[in-house]
Symmetry: C2
Subunit: 292 residues, 2 copies
């Protein structure tokens, strides 16, 4: 008997141009052209009911919508999604579900404005589920793998390099990059990765051997979303906030920040990071790292 084929929803592939050229003037009074990242409204309709409007770069809108539904716990499994149809002409994403979203009114009524560097909106009830999360105790990353990961990020072609003003997120297995995405909002980027993971074979998408990378700060939302995906290690180019720190401690989730080149600071769950100080860049002429 062959195993039943996995369900894969119908998805459009409505990518859109990621940058736009505009005229600028610099401090010498010179006119030139600069690239800026695109930013588009995308209104999500679930079974013809308007849910939310996301502002997005537009790189992978279908995965963004899937991941948004997943991370907001509005849809429980990918099997419940029949189709995601994105149409940039009308800036709309139409989601068709198999069974509808139970109790949608009540579940989207409570509003928490979180940090992001904006005011992130996380529908209520999300914090409640943290109590049930147990991250795999054995998961670790070596310092050599961390350096490999940072090198992969450095080599990645990005909209950030050409136009700035976007956040990047990536999913790694050890130092192997599985998925990279950018968006104007970093929460869109992490949601897009969650959407992508939902479409993969669940057997390969357990979080225990995964590492999440973000260019943004290690905020409570970052920690919560990684934990929800079962990922026990997050690496960031930036620092950590207090809520991010407290949640990561409670969840036994390893947070590593200020990570560029050969530098980093490990904030929480340091036992998950296998230190290899002999790999660190020689210290000559450089003061010891400071600040968080």
């Amino acid at each position: 008997m062959t195993p039943p084929s996995r369900h894969r929803p119908f998805l459009t592939a409505a990518g859109a141009p990621l940058t736009r050229d505009i005229a600028v003037v610099n401090e010498f009074g010179e006119r030139s052209v600069a690239s800026i990242p695109a930013e588009r409204p995308l209104t999500v309709y679930v079974d013809k009911r308007e849910l939310v409007t996301l502002m997005t770069l537009g790189a992978m809108p279908e995965l963004l919508v899937l991941g948004y539904l997943r991370n907001q716990r509005l849809v429980r499994t990918i099997d419940d999604v029949e189709a995601v149809t994105v149409d940039w002409e009308v800036h709309a994403a139409a989601v068709q579900t198999r069974h509808g979203i139970e109790d949608i009114e009540a579940r989207t009524a409570q509003r928490v404005v979180t940090t992001g560097c904006g005011q992130g909106s996380v529908f209520g009830g999300l914090m409640d589920e943290l109590e049930d999360i147990r991250l795999p105790a054995a998961s670790q990353l070596t310092q050599a793998q961390l350096y490999g990961l940072l090198d992969a990020i450095r080599r990645q072609e990005t909209t950030y390099k050409s136009a700035g003003s976007v956040h990047g997120c990536a999913l790694f297995r050890g130092e192997q990059m599985l998925m990279f995405v950018e968006d104007v909002g970093r929460h869109n980027a992490i949601d897009t990765i969650a959407g992508w993971m939902w479409l993969q074979d669940p057997a390969t998408m357990a979080g225990d051997d995964k590492v999440f990378y973000t260019t943004g700060r290690l905020t409570s939302e970052m920690v919560i979303k990684a934990a929800q995906m079962g990922i026990p290690i997050i690496v960031s180019r930036s620092g950590i906030t207090q809520m991010g720190y407290e949640l990561a401690e409670r969840l036994d989730l390893c947070t590593i920040g200020r990570a560029t080149n050969k530098h980093f600071l490990c904030y929480t769950a340091p036992r998950r990071l296998v230190l290899q100080p002999e790999l660190a860049a020689p210290r000559a002429g450089r003061p010891a790292p400071q600040g968080a």
Copy 2:
């Protein structure tokens, strides 16, 4: 006849410690202590009705709440606010209004998730009001004033310098800094400035001679909030997003980004910036600026 004294609501002064020390491990395997910014939930109750929970550094929570109510257009004038009482023991801000908020259910029902670098929540109807905004046509800033402003920012003592991971915003009159605030979310910072402005003499708080500075990106929300305060010029250390660009163009609002030291790029309404290229740093050995 003496003019009637201006209304000033009762405000607590519930500032709280802005940083916290945590243990960290660096790439040499060395343990040390680093400062991280504080981050606290603050649930806002208006006339005993729960409105929203903000995550904040906690520097000036009363002004944050005032500015949030102002920028969300939930309260029309400062005269309608009787008191803002913040109590960190219960992480609550109790707002007492004179007349209540008309139609509060309907006005907080629509949700737009915007860029920030998180998913900012702006209650519906905010975009509708942009049509009525006319920024003062004559307002300008000279390149010398811009350099003075950037120098004031550079000299400011900040939580960012000691702990990183916060956004700063400032209000200037020309190169004179009137108000500076930091928060974990930059939208909190701009809201705090809006709250502070509400408490000043309206005669001195017209936007026409003001400049808004932000460390964050020039997103649509930044542009909208500055425009709502009547401020025709925004300066940022960071770049601009497409929605920010399009709104600024439509509003004739001058946006200046990548502004550090003697560098900048003017993206929109360049006639508001009086160029003085002779003040620019000499170019020797440095390539012309690129990117946005």
